[in-house]
């Protein structure tokens, strides 16, 4: 039992490390935005450690910098992070039956785009300790990157900051392309996402929505159509 657990923890650190390095670069650029909003590096560390939400934090810092109403922060966090709700539902299917509630809740709190990605890719049921290890390591880098970005970010030239901001998208690409290669239906869904998302960014009315809102609506529509046209094969144990 103990040895099995240690194996999962070590695997979690192993898979979490490249995520952690990528996170550091991304949260560094987030730290620059947080600094503009007036956060200290301690506050940035705290926010990043406990939210671990790239797009959500970007929205939070932007709203703080204009001293928005509290209700706006709540609404923005709800919409931009709605995908975590869907990921949590998906993850609930990857947890072994009989796992205690406290472990399920802790695993849910570990969800980020990337940690969710590797946890879903874990063969069979996802061991809690695997997810904890990956989340802990990557979260420490994420929070440190933000704190250091707040302190040091203003010292970097603008084009370096812009180049660093690409790391976020690079990570996204590295997560959705491998399954698209394995499963042609995922590839079609990704192509449809690019096309529709591109159209919605310039289309009248829809382009006026916040990008978080567009993300939520497009995700629900495209995933529903994909699920209707190309349902997955059933009775694959713990594979959804």
């Amino acid at each position: 039992m103990m040895t099995g657990n240690w194996k999962h923890i070590i695997h979690g650190f192993r898979d979490g490390f490249p995520i952690a390095l990528g996170y550091f670069a991304v949260s560094f650029s987030l730290g620059i935005i947080a600094a503009k909003a007036g956060l200290t590096s301690g506050q940035g560390f705290l926010t990043s450690f406990f939210t671990r939400a790239s797009a959500g934090e970007y929205g939070t810092y932007s709203l703080i910098s204009v001293r928005a109403a509290y209700a706006e922060i709540i609404a923005m966090c709800l919409v931009v992070n709605l995908r975590y709700m869907l990921m949590s539902a998906a993850l609930s299917q990857k947890i072994a039956p009989g796992t205690p509630w406290i472990k399920r809740i802790l695993m849910a709190c570990c969800i980020t785009d990337e940690v969710f990605g590797i946890s879903i890719a874990h063969p069979g049921y996802t061991p809690p300790s695997y997810m904890y290890a990956a989340a802990l390591l990557s979260t420490l880098f994420w929070a440190s990157g933000c704190a250091i970005g707040i302190t040091a970010g203003s010292l970097l030239p603008q084009h370096v900051v812009t180049a660093l901001s690409m790391s976020l998208y690079g990570m996204f690409v590295a997560i959705f392309i491998p399954p698209a290669r394995r499963d042609r239906n995922v590839l079609y869904a990704v192509i449809a996402s690019f096309v529709l998302s591109g159209i919605c960014a310039v289309a009248p009315v829809v382009s006026q929505w916040s990008s978080g809102m567009r993300t939520v609506v497009l995700t629900i529509i495209i995933s529903a159509v994909a699920a209707w046209l190309k349902p997955i094969k059933t009775n694959v144990h713990g594979a959804a």
Binding site: I19, L39, Q43, F50, R52, A53, A55, E57, T60, I64, Y70, I73, C77, L78, N81, L82, R83, M85, L86, M87, S88, A89, Q93, R104, I105, D113, G117, H159, V160, T162, A163, M166, Y169, G170, M171, F172, V173, A174, I175, F176, I177, P178, A180, R181, N185, A189, S193, F194, S197, G198, S211, T215, L218, T219, I222, A227, W228, K230, I232, A240
Partner: protein
Amino acid sequence: MFMEQHRILIYILLAIVVTNLIRVIPMVFIKGQISNRFVRSFLYYVPYVTLAVMTFPDMILATPTPWPSLIALVIGMIAAWFRLGLLPVAAICCAIVYLMM
């Protein structure tokens, strides 16, 4: 100044509470395995579709002109197709944009 700091702390607290409640609520309410084939399929596609939607066109709007990031996106996708990991793909995207700007 004190009021300012007080306000920032409330913002931070709200963001932390909302972001984590969203993660926990489905986990608490979904008991056992979902047997509905449509729902399972839907949940299978969600993460990939969300990430794809967030990548395009946001990525190519993040640079002053779209070309550097568009090329970074295409090369990054090719690199990921040939099974390069998270960090190499992210580094390639950063390097291309840095060199082209």
